[in-house]
Symmetry: D5
């Protein structure tokens, strides 16, 4: 059995060799590129049929398929990320966290947006003054309960 790190290495190598993009793999397999990437980087488990589709598409063995299905332990090392792309997202949480709490709870009541029953997309908006990144986060609202 191989672990998630080896799985990712084999997937990245196959992807490079075949000249593929996450976008194209996702489109061809009917999966969101964000979710597909997350599963291939080892941060989400893939349901059996999706794991098989990915493995077959990339021409990889059953070990990769098994590793894709495994439930990952989600670990990140940097409480405050240093890579500028990731830090900017962290900064958005720091600057707008209290604001989002105000606006979401005004609209929905006391509760949170789930990060488990959750999906996310990345889109590109072309703009002559500079293209724009559009991130869409979609999470189920979970109300607090009293008992």
């Amino acid at each position: 059995m191989i672990d998630k790190v080896t799985m990712t290495e084999q997937i990245i190598a196959a992807k490079l060799e075949k000249g593929l993009t996450w976008e194209k793999i996702g489109k061809d397999l009917g999966m969101s590129p964000v979710w597909l990437t997350s599963a291939c980087l080892g941060m989400n488990s893939a349901p059996a049929e999706k794991a098989e589709a990915i493995t077959e598409y990339l021409g990889l063995g059953t070990e990769v398929c098994t590793a894709l299905k495994a439930y990952p332990t989600k670990i990140w090392d940097q409480a405050v990320p240093t890579d500028p792309l990731v830090y900017r997202l962290y900064e958005v949480v720091g600057v707008y966290g209290e604001t989002l709490k105000e606006v979401i709870q005004e609209k929905f009541g006391d509760g949170i947006m789930s990060a488990i029953d959750f999906s996310m997309e990345v889109d590109k908006i072309e703009d002559p003054k500079g293209d724009r990144v559009l991130l869409t986060l979609n999470g189920k609202f979970l109300p607090y309960k009293s008992w």
Copy 2:
């Protein structure tokens, strides 16, 4: 001159007394509720005409207007936020940060999504299985340059 904390207290008090929501204030003034809330919580400065519109709408004095226009120092105390609503956003950055880097840089090249030339919206999707929160982040792509 009053500081941002006092400004926020006066705005919240006026909003409560008039029975307003961020949603309604934003709609009536033609401003995004997210941006409006952020400015009123003191995490963004307001351009003069917007600061005046907000102050007048809420029936507050010029001190609040001046405070809304002031450039804030953006500080947050918790490197890892504890409030569950804000933590879930932090968790999204931790779990999906590397994934977003892969997908964005595949689409745009080496660079980042700006958190300054940036806007964000919150929407509610009604769903019989449980309503969903839709967060949309829109930031300019900034390519790295060589020199």
Copy 3:
């Protein structure tokens, strides 16, 4: 309007003066003592009818009622708690966290136990060799989704 800290002080004072326990208040009002305590300490918001019942029972004013209904920002200062009673719970998470992940995910699939759609009870088991504390945590299982 009073904040949650002042609310808690007034509730504790009234509780002491009347010689009440969380147990008794909860029983008389048909609320779980754990939830009741959490709301009175300011870590959960109370639905309107419960806030009114608590306030009336303790003979407190509408300000306390309003504060009980407010949505709290949940903050704790100590990443690692020092009080021995709370530390032992933290230690349980440290020692058994990986074990619980194994056992829960074996039983339920990839996902988590919600801390939002969640309740908890404390019971006392009398035992001649030393009484025992029984904590029961009851949370909805939330499966990860692919998209």
Copy 4:
């Protein structure tokens, strides 16, 4: 002599090969699945007869038996865990820690719930609106003493 990490690898490999679950092993051997998993992950030592039973059941050698009996040094690396399943438990300690202190000490007097003279179970409550996880923690109450 093998260390606990190698022991766990051999146990997990044997368990996979035989298609077993912690649930089934625990049931067949008359041990709680939570305790069994904890011992097999190396966070608790096993009494001699239990270590032998586990080793024999899985068809493993005496080195694994010896390693199961060894007294572990309990170490966890993340003061604040990142895996969402474990974080939710940490969040429960953060949100409800003070509440549990109030309720337990009201019921038992000044003291703590032991994490040493302690057991824990995981149950599944089937529910058409979504199954629920039931965690039961059972620890001896230890009163503070004066001297």
Copy 5:
């Protein structure tokens, strides 16, 4: 009702005014000076009869008595203490922690020394080459249990 900080201030003031030492108070009241000091500094609760004896001895009011009986939340701010006297004790734990684990568990089996069912004394050994401090820690051994 006064809090533990105010209680400590009143006790220290009365002790100074009467020219007492912890040693003498403890001896006169039949309490260990270490436990007595800990209760008076607010880190342990006092049983009713001891709280009354201390209060009466020092000529203080019922508020101090009530505060002595309250169950404290034990908090320390410095994960690594800076005061040299306290740091040396921390250093002993760092240097000899693994050693004590070896020696205690060899003598007693897998388990810990309780810090709750626990007492401690300080003695002075006069020595012409320099007096020595003798600290005696006495804690119940708690064995781990399997289940």
Copy 6:
């Protein structure tokens, strides 16, 4: 030349093979088991004659003897230890640190208990209600000086 880690491994292996305990080695060689264990775990250097006695007793080579004599750099990785046995000692320092400062300085004047000119013993007190661990710390008092 071997380092302290290899030294410890060879000593532990010889001790296991011969079925010895720290207690017995210490008794046979006229050394305190605590000090002996500390030297064998690499946290203290051994004087030449003691290093030779230990090495000969265990039937080990001169490399181990040389390593026992080397002056160690004392490093511990966890500012707050996680193993429950060691954490309880850390908790004692946190809970009783200020108390010990009061009591020691009342008895001795302004100064500290040395952790260098220092010894420690572990004893077992048998008790039908549960055996007790007795730790005795003995350190020279060092007064602060003015100049």
Copy 7:
């Protein structure tokens, strides 16, 4: 494919063997020595033509060229750097950060200096009292926007 660490090792080895300096390579290839060094140390990606020019100049293979073009994940381990040269820069940010915010925002309005659309140069000013280092940072001003 080689990673950035191996790439840097090969570049440093070739640079040493040929007796080159960053200054000379930069001058010969028409690139800023600072940017060139940053790309060769793996903290910036190189556009294709620059990657090829560097590789060819140093007589290295296509693997180095590919690695130079790869988009790096920018990670630094020390939140507070210890090397004195780097610490002094960190100190400048600590001492003058608030000052720079005042002066830049007075000149440009509310916004920031980009660290992405950014370049930097190092110059030497000879001085009989001691040569001086001149660092020039040049970043695009990005104004905050309202929406």
Copy 8:
């Protein structure tokens, strides 16, 4: 005597009342606006004649003058700054620190750029594609010495 915080408040108030900028004050008094701001924010002491000139120019009393001359203790609370303008500077140190060490030490030998014998300027470069901030840091090179 007033402390630096009060001094800064009085200076900022006088500056606002007179409608001045740091730029203008600096120009009129022949001082760099960066240094002037730093002294007025309390992070540098002012030589007597400069302190007097600033105080007189702003029409403030001798207490402000005395406070400007006092030697400050330079403290910053955030090891990693959160304000985006200051964070970008921190990011530059993180991303380019090792690069600057390479380039500076290649040019000057083993040593550092002083942050004490140091000056800094801020300039604005107008640019139709977006104005640019130019920061110039000028520090004496200090070579390491052997002895």
Copy 9:
């Protein structure tokens, strides 16, 4: 009774009013200026006769005298100091710590330099190329003991 902070304020005020320096006070009273300053800043207790001499010299009351004699709890907030003068000392410990351990233990055997039985002086060496600071630390060597 006044605390050490108030004591320091009164001493600093008297020192300023009388136009004294630590140097002069120390010389006149026959005390080292370093020790004197440390006692007046509240980081060391003063023996009775020295406390009285200082108080009388400065014309202060018995409360200051009592506060000077009190045994301080030595606390510093910044694990890594930010003030440049203090940071440089911290840097010396970081850069040369291992070196000093080698050199001291080569000269003295296994042990440490006491920071309690300790004194320190500051001298000025005039030098046309720039004056030099001479710090002299004098601490008793404490050998480790075996037992």
Copy 10:
């Protein structure tokens, strides 16, 4: 080319084999033992002639000579050192940092003691009551400048 770690290993091995001390090597080569040790432990670079003298004296190859000349990146892992000898120095900085700032700046004006233009010596003072360690730090005073 060998790195500094390998260099140190070879130097230590040669030193042991020849039965040398830092003291003797320094004396024979006319270098301070502290500086020599620091260079051999890899925390300072050696000028060419010194690097050659050291290498020749120890009978080592040119690779060691090259490594001695390389400019090190000075890194230490422990913000708060744990080894007692090094911790005591850290404690001196914590306890006396503010005092040294007062005394040095009183003598020299606003500025710092350089840790770059710096030297240090270790001496032994024999004393029948216990030998003493004398550390002498000698650093250039660097005045802050205004501009």
